[in-house]
């Protein structure tokens, strides 16, 4: 909790800046010759952000890791043959060596994991009301931010509901047990569909509340 509280105190602009730098850093890759250094850097950042995220929000950490492992599994099924047949892996770079091509493909999910971790840490340590000082744009940011928070919460709640109906593994059981892995594989699309539907159903009411808040803020500033 201490770590979380300390991180929460960082000014919003600094938090946004760190988020953008990390996102850019991992979205774009510069040169083939830097691949090894980049991959080591990637591993270090994953480890640091992973530990921080684990400390501040253990439950979401495990959910993220589970969903990431599923995604990575699916990705690798497609990525390995594509890499083998030499298809272009990035619009920014053409690889000369086969080893580098494989290294790039294998590290790609890790880059994604870093972005997830950093994004989720940002959500954990930032309050939507921090955006309100920026007027109407700030309000829209707050609204958007609240949608992300709500989605995260919905994923956890829906998982519990599926668990109650025997359609998701119990906490502590997971990918490495065959039956549980099969359950996750079978019901992950349902989880996402239910979450998406609930967001759609929540949206009009949420908009209504935000609109009311916005009118109130506008009136109080007159």
């Amino acid at each position: 909790m201490k770590l979380k509280r300390s991180l929460e105190k960082i000014p919003l602009c600094v938090k946004v800046l760190i988020l953008i730098i990390i996102a850019l850093c991992f979205f774009f890759f510069i040169k083939e010759s830097d691949l090894i250094i980049f991959s080591i850097f990637n591993l270090v950042v994953v480890a640091i952000t992973g530990v921080v995220f684990y400390i501040i929000e253990r439950r979401t950490f495990w959910v993220t890791v589970k969903l990431w492992i599923i995604g990575t599994g699916i990705y690798l099924i497609f990525a390995i043959p594509l890499t083998y047949f030499g298809c272009p892996l990035s619009p920014f770079i053409k690889f000369q060596s086969a080893t580098n091509r494989y290294l790039f493909s294998i590290f790609f999910p890790l880059r994604l994991l870093v972005i997830f971790f950093v994004g989720l840490i940002f959500v954990e340590i930032t309050s939507p009301i921090e955006f309100l000082k920026f007027g109407k744009i700030g309000l829209w940011f707050a609204f958007f931010f609240r949608i992300i928070e709500y989605t995260k919460q919905l994923i956890i709640e829906t998982m519990i509901v599926l668990q109650m109906q025997g359609e998701w593994p119990d906490e502590g059981k997971g990918l490495f047990q065959l039956r549980e892995a099969r359950l996750i594989k079978q019901y992950a699309p349902k989880l996402l569909a239910v979450v998406f539907r609930n967001i759609i159903l929540w949206f009009p009411w949420a908009y209504l509340c935000f609109n009311k808040i916005f009118i109130k803020i506008k009136e109080s500033r007159k």
């Binding site: 309050s127 919460q153 829906t158 509901v161 119990d170 159903l201 949206f203 803020i217």
Partner: protein, 482 residues
């Protein structure tokens, strides 16, 4: 007297209402629970029809149709500033933490002002840091009410808040209502459970599904038909329980520390060595103050939470070793927020699920109550009542041994409560089941003649019936037996 005479028209609904908006008065609107009743509060509060950009988004057309009707004000005018508290506690608080919610609503108050808001409903300062999604239903309603009564509105519309509140909450509410009334404010309750309000209500209005009209007759506090149904239902308990049979559910020294809010460490554990047994075929009600941990006990019983210490047994077997599929077939649990348990999209999908299971009772009940719904009917457009009924029917199996209903009566009128107990009666006639109801409704507890589990300061106190509970020392400071 001041009235607003209005019409609200959507493609499938027309409401004609004479709504009282006189200052210094407390009104009760009760009657039929349907989409119209659900919308009245928002209409008075000026929330509906919707304004703003969303109205022009075609993607949301069907979703917002009911909120986007045509309003015709024939006489008078709606109050200028209205605080509206919705029946669904999740709809009243929008931000993630209690502190954030108050900061935005009160426009940057001081720390002292923040704390003063919470004390209006007896909540301490630790609530400021708590996440709203970790609050219990009753606590959410208390926070929403505390914020509303801290602001200066000319009218307060409170929809279905009473069933969520414990005795202290209801006392705080009465104090706030009386003080607002003295300041010339208009207070409108939209309620089905209102016996605790009888001393503060000035006038009663009845909604019949189309119009709202002043009730000339003395209003009834408990529907006689429902009363009779509950008494008949209470006779379905198994009179002779086999002594050799293991309890259906058994908690032994169950302790849980920080749930549901890991963000702050509690001084005392939420559950502190909870022990109780639910015998086969009997009826139980679990009562307690808001945030005492009643719903947490249900979550432990269905194994979505693990205790820090102690053991939980289901039919004599430690729950942690029980297969989830077996548990799903043997425990039917309807939570206090049933819409969260909906995981299919249409009635047709639920119909398919019911047909695929070899349970004639389930199939018969589904046909009886959902026959008129077409397969394409979206579950998202069902009322709270329909959802509760749908879940109850679809979760029942031939092997069900325990039904847990968390706040089964909130959001339902007397007729709908009657139907729920009619379905339960049908189920209990066919299967031998133990029933556990979590509620604040002591009239229900009394009419069911159930055994009572009182969750008090993290421990369970057991009573044979409501008369035994009434004899307990200082019980009147916790419950209202009126």
């Amino acid at each position: 007297m001041e009235y607003v005479k209005l019409k609200y028209i959507t493609s499938n609904l027309t409401i004609e209402a004479e709504v009282p908006v006189n200052g210094s008065k407390v009104y009760l609107i009760t009657g039929k629970e349907d989409l119209g009743f659900h919308l009245i509060g928002g209409i008075i509060a000026g929330l509906f029809p919707l304004k703003g950009e969303i109205v022009n988004l075609p993607q949301f057309g069907a979703l917002i149709e009911q909120y986007n009707g045509q309003i015709i004000i024939e006489q008078g005018e709606l109050p200028q500033s209205v605080a509206y508290i919705d029946v669904d506690p999740d709809r009243n608080l929008f931000f993630s933490k209690v502190k954030e919610e108050i900061m935005v609503q009160l426009n940057n108050p001081t720390q002292q002002e923040l704390e003063n808001v919470l004390t209006k409903f007896g909540l301490d300062r630790s609530f400021l840091e708590r996440h709203i999604h970790n609050l219990s239903g009753g606590e959410k309603v208390k926070v929403a009410l505390a914020i509303a009564f801290s602001l200066d509105y000319s009218c307060y519309v409170l929809h279905g808040v009473v069933p969520w509140l414990d005795k202290k909450g209801r006392e705080f509410l009465k104090n706030e209502v009386n003080s607002a009334k003295k300041k010339g404010k208009c207070i409108i309750f939209l309620e089905h459970e209102f016996s605790s309000l009888k001393n503060i209500i000035d006038e009663v209005f009845i909604y019949n599904g189309k119009t709202i009209q002043r009730s000339e007759r003395e209003y009834i506090f408990i529907d006689p038909k429902l009363q009779e149904k509950l008494q008949v239902f209470s006779m379905l308990k198994l009179k002779e329980q086999s002594m050799s049979c293991d309890p259906v559910l058994e908690f032994e020294g169950v302790t849980l520390h920080n749930y549901p809010y890991p963000e702050a460490v509690r001084e005392n554990p939420l559950l502190n060595g909870v022990s109780f047994k639910l015998n086969f075929g009997d009826f139980y009600t679990l009562i307690g103050e808001n945030g005492a941990g009643k719903s947490t006990i249900a979550r432990l019983a269905i194994k979505v939470l693990k205790p820090d210490n102690g053991t939980i047994k289901f039919c004599g077997n430690p729950i942690q070793y029980l297969d989830r599929r077996k548990l799903v077939n043997q425990i039917c649990y309807i939570s206090q927020f049933p819409e969260q348990q909906v995981t299919l999209s249409t009635i047709g999908q639920y119909r398919e699920k019911v047909i695929s299971k070899d349970c004639k009772l389930k199939q018969r009940l589904f046909d009886k109550y959902f026959q008129n719904f077409i397969n394409e009917h979206p579950v998202s457009s069902l009322t709270v009542f329909d959802i509760k009924l749908l879940l109850l029917i679809t979760f029942i199996t031939n092997e069900t041994k325990l039904i847990i209903l968390d706040e089964p009566t909130w959001g339902l009128d007397a007729e709908q409560q009657f139907v729920i107990f009619e379905v339960l009666e049908d189920i209990f006639k066919q299967l031998s089941i133990t029933l556990l109801i979590i509620t604040h409704n002591l009239t229900l507890v009394s009419l069911l003649n159930s055994k009572i589990l009182w969750l008090k300061d993290g421990e369970i106190l057991s009573f044979e019936n409501i008369d035994a509970l009434k004899k307990y020392n200082s019980v009147s400071s916790y419950f209202d037996f009126a």
